[in-house]
Each structure stands twice: as C-alpha cells, then as structure tokens.
Amino acid sequence: MLILKLLFRNIFRQRLRTFLTVLATTVAILAFGFLRTIIDAWYSGVEASSPARLITRNAISLTTPLPISYKDRIRKVKGVKEVSYGQWFGGIYISEKNFFPNFAVEAETFLQLYPEYIIKPEEKIAFLRDRKGCVAGRKVAEEFGWEVGDTIILKGTVFPGEWEFTVRAIYRGAGPKVDETQVFFHWDYINEGLKKTYPTRADHVGFFVVGINDPRRAAEISLEIDSLFKNSLAETLTETEKAFQLGFVAMTEAILITIKIVSIVLIIIILLIVANTMAMNVRDRLSEYATMKALGFNWPYISGLVLGESIMISLTGSLCGIVLTFPASKIFVDAMGTLLPVFYITAETLLLDLLIALCVGVLAGLLPALNAIGVPVQRALQRIG
C-alpha cells in the first residue's frame, strides 16, 4: 500500500511535466483513435459485404455495361439462388456538394438480396408499386429533411436530364456497419427514359448481384458464370462482394497507407514523449532509488515503481484521449455529412487505444527502469547535495 502511495505521489511531483505528458498522450491517442476510425469507415463497405453475394460486372471495367439478357443465363447456374441488377446513377441533388450514392436497381430482387436494409412493410409495398418511387437511407433523409411522400429531383450525370422521384420508403441498417446514406430507385424507370433519349444505352446494366446458396462455392460459381460469357462481346468478371468492395478500397490505397503511417508515427511520438518524461523523472530520483536499494528493495520494487508510474501516465492520457474521441467524432461526422456513410468508433479501436497505452507505458518505462535498477548504490548516494 505504501509502495502504491509512493507511486502515485511520484506521479504528481513534477505536476507541469506530468500534465504536459498526459496532455500530449491525450492528443496523440485522440488522433490515433480518430485515424483508426477513418480507416474503419473506409473499409465499412468491405465489412458490410455478405459472403453469400457475388457481383458480376463487365470484365473491361465497371463503367462498361452488360446486357440485361445475362440475368436469365446467370440465374440458371447451379447454386445461384437469386439474381438482381443495378446501375450506378450518380445523380446530383441540388448541388454537387450534396454527395450520396444512388443506384437504379431491380427493386424486388435487390431488396431480397439485401435484407440488412430494413424497410417498413407498408413503405416497401408503396415503393415497389411506384415506378418513380425511391427508397432513401435514414442518414441521407435526415441530412436533407426528406420524408415519405416528398418529391426529389436528381440531376443525372451518367444519364443526362432531371429525374424526378417520390420518396416512398426510408430504410434503416440492420447494424451499425450498414450504409444508411444511399438512395435506390427502379431501374425500369431509368431504362424507359433511356429508350426515348439514348436507345443504344437502354437494356444494359452496370452490375449483377448474384445471391448464392453456399458461400463455400463462391469461387466455383464465379468461374462458371464468367465461362458462360467467355469470348462474347461483353465478357464478365465475377467476384465476391467483399473482393468487389476491396477493389474500391484499393483505388485509394495510397491515402490509407498514409493514414496508417501517420498513426504509427503518432504512437512513436507518444512513446518518445513518455520515455523522455520517465527518463527525466528517474534521473531526478536516482538517489532515492539508490537509497531504496540500500535499504534492501530489489529490482522488482524499483522497476515496479518506474514502470507503474510510466503506465499510469500513459493510461491516464489514453483514457482522456478515448473519452474525447467521441465528441471529436461527432463534430467530424456532422461536418462531413454523408461523405463518410459509416463512421463510428469500434470496440476494437478502443481496445487498441488501451493496448497501445499499456505498451507505450511499459516500453517508455523500460530504459529508465533499467537505469534505476542498475545505478550503483554508492555512486548515486554520492550525487546527493
């Protein structure tokens, strides 16, 4: 008990030094947790993907369409449960800064394949019945103040013109990883418009979503689907939804790597700051450790005092940083609007923060502890005065 008392009193001996170290650790852990959450947000699509869904797209590129007629042929592949299709619409709501993902989809099958989009039954029926209807995610609806029954107009970028929709349903995600910033509407509605304005672009889709019975057969089924269209004018590339999403993430890999490097640099900075503080603390108290050694306290006591102090400082800063991560994230999310659709602090990030704080505490205290343990008693005593 007295040893613990000594440990705690030691922490507050150099109040300014301790305060600044805790503050630096707080800021670093806050920044680290924040960057980790941004990385998590980047991977949210990957995390939310289902192993029971495959995506079939044109082998040339995602922007090259596939004929709608492929649907029936894909449906016949053994192990395929359901096939839906869709098209990235890329519509702009009022201004380009109001970004949110919007897709034209084959609504009925699409909603069957994505049960994580929770829609009230009556709203679902209304949406399926209304060709001009659309279903909006909760977050995007809140962002723009949409309610069921409202009319919204999207300005087409991929498909020129102004397209009018009626909000028929608002979906909620089944879990925190589900993107609630998307808008879906009927592919038929867009296709009909295209038949009049750009007939050559009609009856084509951007991708097929393939629901399969057994995720373990994903690779086999993918190969079988692609073999159906081998040597055709529009060869396909089928992959799991996860691989498809990872492809998007890979496009921005340089940014992610930069964020990860900055995260590691932050940890190194915390380590150096705490280590520097501990080195100064131990240097100031060498004569006290020498006295304790003279009195018979051996290395577990001495190292415990130094490491305990280091860990306490690091953990205090870390806990403050963790607490502050929540309001900081809230401010960030509010400022970003729907740009980062899934942004929440995971339990893994919090645990990682604590683990890092613990490791930093131990590593930062290691050399000073060795210094305290190794100091020759008689030499340290001669330093006094």
């Binding site: 000594l6 009193r9 006295t291 009195l295 306290f297 051996n298 005593l381």
Partner: protein, 236 residues
C-alpha cells in the same frame, strides 16, 4: 575495542582490497584491510578525503563488493551472496544513516520510517507499532505526519536514524551523519547514536571527518591512502 581478540565479532574483514578504474588508471582505494569489530562496538573511522572511508563502509554494509578478501558480518560471509540475497540481508541486518539523510521527499516522517518494514512480514498494525516506537526513541512523535521538507536538518537526520533502527538491525552504518548539520543538531544526533549503542547495544560504524563526532565513539581507527592504521585510539 576493534581487534580480533574478541569472541563475538560483529564484523570481520580479512585481506580486503578494493580498486577503481579512473580512465585507464587503477586507483587502489583499499589495500589488504584486516579489521574486526566486536558486537556492541561504536567505531569511528576517520581519515582525509579520498582515503577510502566511505568505500570501507559500503563494503561492510554490503553496498559494494571487494576485489579480493572476505567480509563476514554476524557470522555470514556477505562477499559470497548474490545481489538479491545481499539486498535481503541488508534489509534485515543493516541500518543506514547518510550524510544527507536520504529521506523520500513525498513520504511523511512516519512513512519514511515504515518503508524498510515493507520488506518484513509484519502486519500493518505491527509496523505502526514499530514505527511509533522508533519515532519516540528519536523524540519525533509530534512530527510524524510532516514531510521531510517541513523538518529541520536535525529532525530529518533523526527520522533517518529511526528508519535505520526500525527493522532492529544488528549493525548501523553512518556515513558522515553530522556532516550537514549545525552544531546543536549534530550534538543531538551524536547523543542519539551514543544512546543507541549504550541502551540498545547496537554496533555502530561511523565514518566522519569531524573529531568532535569521533569523540562519541568508543574507538577510532584511521584510514590513510587505503591503509588502515594498526593503532586503535580511544577518544577518552
């Protein structure tokens, strides 16, 4: 008396030598020291600066190791002990009094005295009893909740003395215990040491420059250039 003619030696040094390296030069601090200190002795070791007094004291107290020779304290050859065993041995057998008190600044007088007792198996209440008893001996019961910075130099040294005796060690080593004190405080400390020797039969080995301090001891040995003078003085 400090020669080997006594049956119960508290400390026995046999052909002890110690040298240090200063750059490439070897400094022979102690040369072939032979010394016997009997149980209940109060010995003052005197000598000029650099004569090796503190080194000799460190060796006796198990804070340092000789290059050659044997050191036997209370029947245990401490030169053969491992670092951990030596630390354990010090905790139970040696009380330290330093020139600059070496109290832990963030602990109160009571807590500073209690500190060595953490290495014993005593309960909290037993520790409290021991600490209060020792603070009573040094006449500091009224200052037990004060931090070292709130105490005078003399009071701090008395707390250090209480800490030195709290584990009831057989030997007390004191390195210039009055070196940082004014005359009045120094006299109080010396009286206390004499009392510990007389009343509590503690073997005290004190290194000092101060002839007035040495007078309190029962015997004085002079150390010069690492060699112990063969002649033992009695101060009175």
């Amino acid at each position: 008396m400090t020669d080997g003619s006594f049956a119960n030696p508290a400390v026995e040094l046999i052909n002890v030598s110690k040298s240090y390296l200063r750059g490439s030069e070897t400094i022979n601090v102690l040369k072939d020291i032979n010394l016997v200190i009997s149980d209940g002795e109060f010995l003052a070791i005197m000598g000029p600066s650099g004569s090796g007094k503190s080194t000799l004291l460190n060796l006796i107290a198990g804070l340092d190791r000789p290059d050659s020779g044997r050191i036997i304290v209370s029947g245990i050859e401490i030169t053969g002990l491992s670092e951990n065993d030596l630390a354990r041995w010090r905790a139970h057998n040696v009380g330290f009094i330093f020139q600059f008190y070496n109290l832990i600044p963030v602990l109160t007088a009571f807590e500073n005295v209690e500190l060595p007792l953490l290495l014993t198996g005593l309960s909290r209440s037993q520790r409290k009893e021991h600490v209060l008893r020792c603070l009573e001996i040094v006449n500091l019961l009224h200052r037990l909740n004060h931090l070292p910075k709130e105490l005078s130099g003399g009071e701090q040294q008395r707390v250090a003395i209480a800490r030195a005796i709290v584990t009831d060690p057989s030997i007390i080593v004191a390195d210039e215990p009055t070196g940082d004190l004014d005359k009045v405080s120094a006299e109080e400390v010396l009286e206390l040491l004499a009392r510990l020797n007389e009343e509590y039969r503690k073997t005290i080995i004190m290194v000092t420059h101060d002839p007035r301090a040495a007078k309190v001891a029962k015997a004085i040995r002079h150390l010069d250039k690492g060699v112990l003078n063969a002649h033992t003085e009695t101060p009175f």
